[in-house]
Symmetry: C2
Subunit: 181 residues, 2 copies
């Protein structure tokens, strides 16, 4: 873990839009802020990934406030920011090359949303050969509908964590990190 880069995915104001619907884990951002403070205090690498959109109507278009980082995930000067247009942090970006150049093999992943961009990025990181730890309480998602049935964000969160665990990553909690080393 001491060698890991903290990878902060899509902690952006666009997700504050109530149109997303009910969300789980309101503490995710506070946990992300704690992890950022801790990682920076240890002078370990912090890497940000921000979602960007080419369509002006998107909440993630660079001209809109939704594209801005939330206060809890605000990058500091000198921390790399990779802009992506799709869910995976590794497609259309130089993130993989950056990690190889910096000889970073371990990733500690936090961010939004658990089942979309976080899951996609964790899966691809693992399949590219990186060792991934996912901070289960520093992620969150939204309720989703299928065939008229509403799946709660909490249910989606736990099922996705169960699918990712051991196959693509190891799960860890914010408290375990802050007290472990």
């Amino acid at each position: 873990m001491q060698d890991a880069a903290l990878l902060v995915i899509d902690v952006q104001k666009a997700f504050d839009d109530p149109a997303w619907g009910p969300r789980n884990n309101p503490n995710a951002e506070a946990n992300i802020a704690s992890l950022l403070e801790y990682w920076r205090s240890k002078q370990r690498p912090v890497i940000h990934v921000h979602h960007s959109a080419e369509v002006l109507a998107s909440r993630f278009h660079p001209s809109r406030v939704g594209h801005d980082a939330k206060a809890e995930g605000q990058p500091l000067a000198g921390e790399p920011i990779f802009k992506k247009l799709v869910n995976s942090a590794f497609i259309g970006t130089q993130l993989e090359q950056h990690l190889r150049d910096q000889q970073i093999e371990n990733l500690l992943v936090v961010g939004l949303t658990t089942d979309h961009c976080v899951s996609t990025s964790v899966r691809m990181a693992a399949n590219l050969g990186f060792q991934v730890s996912l901070v289960s309480d520093a992620t969150a998602t939204f309720d989703r509908m299928l065939d008229g049935i509403e799946y709660t964000a909490a249910q989606i969160q736990t099922v996705h964590l169960a699918s990712l665990n051991d196959e693509f990553c190891q799960l860890i909690t914010t408290a375990a990190i802050l007290t472990s080393d």
Copy 2:
């Protein structure tokens, strides 16, 4: 859909091992067989992806019977087979190049397991720019445990389909395909 390639993921005997635990959708293989027969009758492209393992102890090692395709997903001569070592059909394979070379932009995805290799491959296909339809009743998965709680395969299946739908793919049923065109 007439332009789509049928992408058959990991329909291999290794998944018959009872050690995987309870599974959902026992009809998945029969639906895959029906779709293969239909796709071949229309002379549309069929592409197979098979999981392979370098570790001899793995059920997916090429020397073991688990590596063989199930009867319902048996490739015919001339149908390309891409061997992968990780979950994503696109990492460490020439699948993307093959699709570009053949000018295939649409994929109809079936196979195992919904939340591991199918989800990972669907996500990456979509993020690479392919249009993906996922046949919801031609996929299946297994019960999974997390923190002492067992999540049923049926629950994992529906939650993952809810997360994939509209964001990475369109869901469709076997019957809808067989009766549509």
